[in-house]
Amino acid sequence: MGILDDAFLKSLWVFHLATGSCNNCDIEILDCLTPRHDIERFGMLLTGSIKHADVLLVTGAVNRQCIPRIKRLYEQMPQPRLVVAIGECALSRGVFIHSYNCPLPLDHVIPVDVYIPGCPPRPEAIIAGLVKLIDQRKAQTGQAKV
């Protein structure tokens, strides 16, 4: 366990990327940040720039116009980096699986660490998913769980 791993998991800054979603997952992410759920108590903060982010939250059925942009954003992310797919669309394209504009699920474009299913997932599910992500990372680096 290095100092980097220790510091990394103390405060995960998230960057939100909508790739052709219906807004539902996006507003549930914002719901996580507002008073009732208040994800900031886990040290998580929504950031405006990918270069400040530790976690990439991806929502939406990845469409043709977004694929090159997702790859570019992923490459710009500083390491260590984590990717969370939120909602049925990002997992498997959901109801848009037969659409001509959604050729690939997200994990065929960039590697994904945590999948949070639901249409949309409840804020509680998103928080649970992110806590699992921290736990998984801690298990890998030999730290105690949350």
Binding site: A18, G20, N23, I27, V95, C102
Partner: protein
Amino acid sequence: MPRTIVPIGPYHPLQEEPEFFILTVEGETVVDIDLQIGYNHRGIEKLSERKTYDQVTFVVERVCGICSTSHPFAYTQAVEDLISVEAPPRAKFIRTIIAEGERLHSHLLWLGLAGHFLGYNTIFMWAWKLREEILDVMEILSGNRNNYAMFKVGGVWRDIQAQDIPQVLKKIESIIPTLEKLKKAVIDDPVLHARTKGIGILSKEAAIDYGAVGPTARASGVDRDIRKNCPYGAYDQIDWDMIVTQNGDVFDKVVIRINEMFESIKIIQQCLARLPQGPIDCVIKDIPPGEGIGHIEAPRGECFHYVRSDGTNRPVRHKIRAPTFMNLPTFKETVIGGTISDAAIVLAAIDPCYCCTERMAVRNRKGQTLWTGEDLIRLSQEKTAQIKTQMGQS
């Protein structure tokens, strides 16, 4: 003065959805705006051609998460128009309750985001905290927080249980004092007045010319509301007022939305008190060939659906026109001439929803050259010069 191009997007911290604005500025003043969309396009119109009529209600629910009632509502109206059936009275009241609950949460969401854009994060937190109460109400009524899955062709899927009604009424009433407080905080604040009054004015003539709909048009004095002009659901049996203001600036759009929330509460209370007994859906045997239209007043304006049938169990054409599609061009009127620091709130003032709008935004740019106005003028001038040389003139 030199012109600078300020790109906003496609992934910008200001925006929740991906879209790309190109602002041309001279110093501080915005002189031109261009918009590129298509980052949200999912081909829903084409998708619904391979789904059955009942499945399409669930697809159109996912056109937009915030308007997840408006689209199924307009779609079921269109199919009911095509078959010429009418939903039973109880179903109409339930539909109205769900639609107004959606308007409440959508307006609160907008109010919060508008506060955030103006640098008032307290309003953002307050409004979203209050919005959670409404989502709780929706969860009691429909079982879901966001995609309610209540609508079906000829009625609704789920009934409102009698034992839930007192709980819902109590929650709705508990919202009113906080909403009053929020209204005072927003409408009486001198700083907010300075930031929003006289900013991004859309005149009545321009609103009519651009075909603006919903709160954007009503803030400019156009008294157009589908719920009053062409009543559907239970709106003709309920006592409520259409909110219209005259100035057309950002402040009036805020006032319209805040006052509409109180009207929505009034409508929900009346609907729950006067909920008629009876069936919640009617039996539909087959869908005849023909076409039908449905339009309803979504939180952002008129939402229009067109369905054509050839007698099979799938629609052959399904056309959606979302309210933001009509409101987007008004940016040409409101943003240009203002300063760049006002652009964010003016762009947000129409409550844009890009994932609704992008039903028709397909553009294949492969192998194509895009010609702008300047390019065409340059080509024309070059041709004249060429002809001049050919004719021996210099």
